[in-house]
């Protein structure tokens, strides 16, 4: 009680946490409860490192994609019982290509290479599989897998922007997809994750162990309240939020681009998860997770702030 260690990864999708950190919202919410909360913010890279840190007890709250949450929920069920704490907002993922011949995913040919953070297991790869399953039938879900290639986001973005390498498509995330679209005139969106998932959906989430939540109810509550407050703040002050991002991350990102992402109508800052069950059930269907989720509440803690999720 009174201490919380949060791990985030790199990127604009963690803006909510940056605001909470900069504005000391967790501390503020804690004081409302008469609790002095010490917050430790750590940056890690990669879902695997985040999971390791959480399971080893080095951190209390982990931030990662929906995919890793579902995996760790599935594996720790009946043991640590890791579940989602909150969403960090809805962001669309674009599959961007600089090959003018590729208009839809059906146009991908043997010569094209799609960069992903991790082949077959990343959220991007799953969404591509969902799209393939929908368009070509459930059995053909892995139709594009052989075109995909594991490349870290920045290298893939550099390749798509600059051209001249085999990689001509990238299923990325903000801000890379936006940079690609902005900096290469040939670059265009081939697939939008919202289309596949049937509307806006949570991209990044936070999760924790059941034990932490039970042992530190007040701290936990203060943390979730702080998140909600941060979401409100960003909606109200996008410009200030952008500045906070640049400051906290010591980032050199182009401010105008950042602002355009934050203000984009596709992006929504909310704490309640949205539209995650589809992906979860797809993962179960293809055998990535063993437990079948019946409702989003299976893998999210039931809290007031996340009420009304889906």
């Amino acid at each position: 009680e009174g201490k919380i260690r949060v791990a985030e990864q790199f990127g604009v999708v963690y803006l909510l946490l940056n605001v909470a950190q900069e504005q000391k919202l967790v501390e503020k919410q804690g004081r409302k409860d008469g609790l002095d909360i010490q917050v430790e913010w750590t940056k890690l890279s990669g879902g695997a490192a985040v999971n390791d840190a959480l399971l080893s007890g080095a951190i209390d709250i982990a931030g990662a994609g929906v995919g890793p949450l579902l995996t760790i929920w599935d594996r720790t069920r009946g043991r640590q019982n890791v579940k989602g704490v909150a969403s960090l907002g809805n962001y669309p993922y674009y599959l961007v290509s600089n090959n003018p011949n590729v208009k839809t995913i059906a146009d991908f040919s043997e010569k094209d290479r799609i960069a992903l953070p991790a082949v077959t297991v990343s959220v991007q790869a799953r969404i591509l599989q969902m799209a393939a399953a929908r368009q070509f039938g459930e059995k053909a879900f892995n139709r594009f897998d052989k075109l995909t290639q594991a490349v870290p986001h920045p290298d893939a973005a550099a390749a798509v922007i600059a051209g001249g390498t085999e990689i001509n498509a990238h299923f990325g995330n903000p801000p890379y997809q936006d940079q690609e679209l902005a900096q290469n005139k040939q670059a265009h969106i081939v697939l939008n994750s919202y289309e596949v998932q049937g509307g806006p959906s949570s991209a990044t989430v936070l999760y924790a162990t059941e034990k932490f939540r039970n042992d530190n109810p007040k701290t936990y509550r203060a943390f979730t309240a702080a998140l909600a407050e941060a979401a409100q703040f960003i909606k109200a002050n996008p410009e200030a939020a952008a500045d906070i991002y640049l400051k906290i991350n010591k980032s050199n990102l182009d401010r105008a681009l950042l602002l355009s992402i934050i203000k984009s109508p596709q992006v929504e800052f909310k704490v309640a998860p949205q539209n995650t069950l589809g992906l979860a059930q797809f993962l179960h269907r293809v055998g990535a997770i063993r437990n079948k989720p019946e409702s989003w509440k299976d893998y999210f803690f039931d809290d007031p702030v996340t009420a009304g999720g889906s």
Partner: protein, 290 residues
């Protein structure tokens, strides 16, 4: 002079020379001496002890998503091998690894041969090594992408990077330590250039070269696994590194450890079957190393 300090005068004696009858001058070592010398037994016991330690530590931690027990790992290893999944991955990795290793060894040989024969070659080797050796493989990724594209060539490129420099460093140090007399003997018989390197410097520097080869081999593995996981895999057709990475992402920690255990097993196998044998039939037999 006092009597005590003077050694006593003894009588002389002579023994007629007699042939040796009762001992063979040279006799082969007894069977068990050989076995013990090879030390499979000792190392086997050591391995068993380490496995026991692992099992105990893992049971005590009781967190099999982070540290599975030895037995769980062995089960996963067995299943992986039985299903043919692991052998396939190992074969893929091995292919790339051996190519990269061979290329690295060849390049190191060329560089050090140059370095030993010309002054500018020496400066070049020293400068390149101290520049590039500390660079992590990930730093080379964009360049690899640009020059070699995706797939095995880029992998080979980063493996060469991790084999070349340490091996060149060690080989070069070995060459420089070759005794002057030996070098002169070789030159005296008209050896020079490549023939001097091959017939004098390489065997004389073999202990250093072999440890360079061992280090290179180990780092080739390290790099391969790290690199496969970054950009080695196309559509699931990856090697052992990819297998480890994928299972780690999916939190199948027992499979991750099975993959790593396989790396360890291959390491032990190569060390004992290849490098120990090389040492035994060369430097140890020649009395250059105990």
């Amino acid at each position: 002079m006092s009597a005590i300090l003077e050694p006593p005068v003894r009588s002389e004696y002579e023994r007629p020379p007699e042939p040796l009858r009762d001992v063979a001058l040279e006799r082969p070592l007894k069977g068990w001496e050989r076995v013990w010398q090879h030390g499979w037994l000792r190392k086997g016991l050591l391995l068993a002890a380490l496995a026991l330690l692992w099992e105990a530590a893992a049971r005590w931690q009781n967190n099999d998503l982070l540290l599975p027990t030895f037995l769980q790992t062995m089960r996963a290893l067995w299943e992986g091998v039985a299903s043919g999944e692991l052998p396939g991955n190992v074969a893929t990795s091995m292919g790339v690894l051996l190519q990269g290793y061979a290329a690295g060894v060849a390049l190191a040989f060329v560089l050090t041969s140059l370095a030993i024969s010309t002054r500018i070659g020496r400066d070049l080797l020293e400068t390149l090594t101290s520049m590039f050796n500390p660079l992590p493989a990930i730093a080379l990724l964009p360049l690899a992408l640009l020059w070699f594209g995706l797939g095995r060539f880029s992998l080979i490129f980063v493996i060469v990077h991790s084999v070349l420099w340490p091996l060149a460093l060690n080989t070069y140090a070995g060459f420089r330590g070759v005794p002057e007399t030996l070098r002169m003997a070789g030159r005296n018989y008209g050896l020079g250039g490549l023939r001097l390197v091959l017939q004098i410097l390489v065997p004389a520097a073999l202990p250093a070269i072999v440890s360079g080869l061992k280090i290179g081999w180990a780092f080739a593995w390290r790099t391969l696994i790290a690199a496969e996981l970054v950009f080695g895999a196309t559509s699931g057709k990856g090697g052992l590194g990819w297998y480890i990475f994928q299972n780690r992402n999916e939190l199948y920690t027992d499979k991750v450890f099975a993959g790593l255990a396989l790396v360890i097993l291959i390491g032990l196998l190569v060390e004992n079957a290849v490098f120990r044998t090389i040492e035994r039939v060369t430097v140890q037999r020649w009395g250059m190393q105990r």
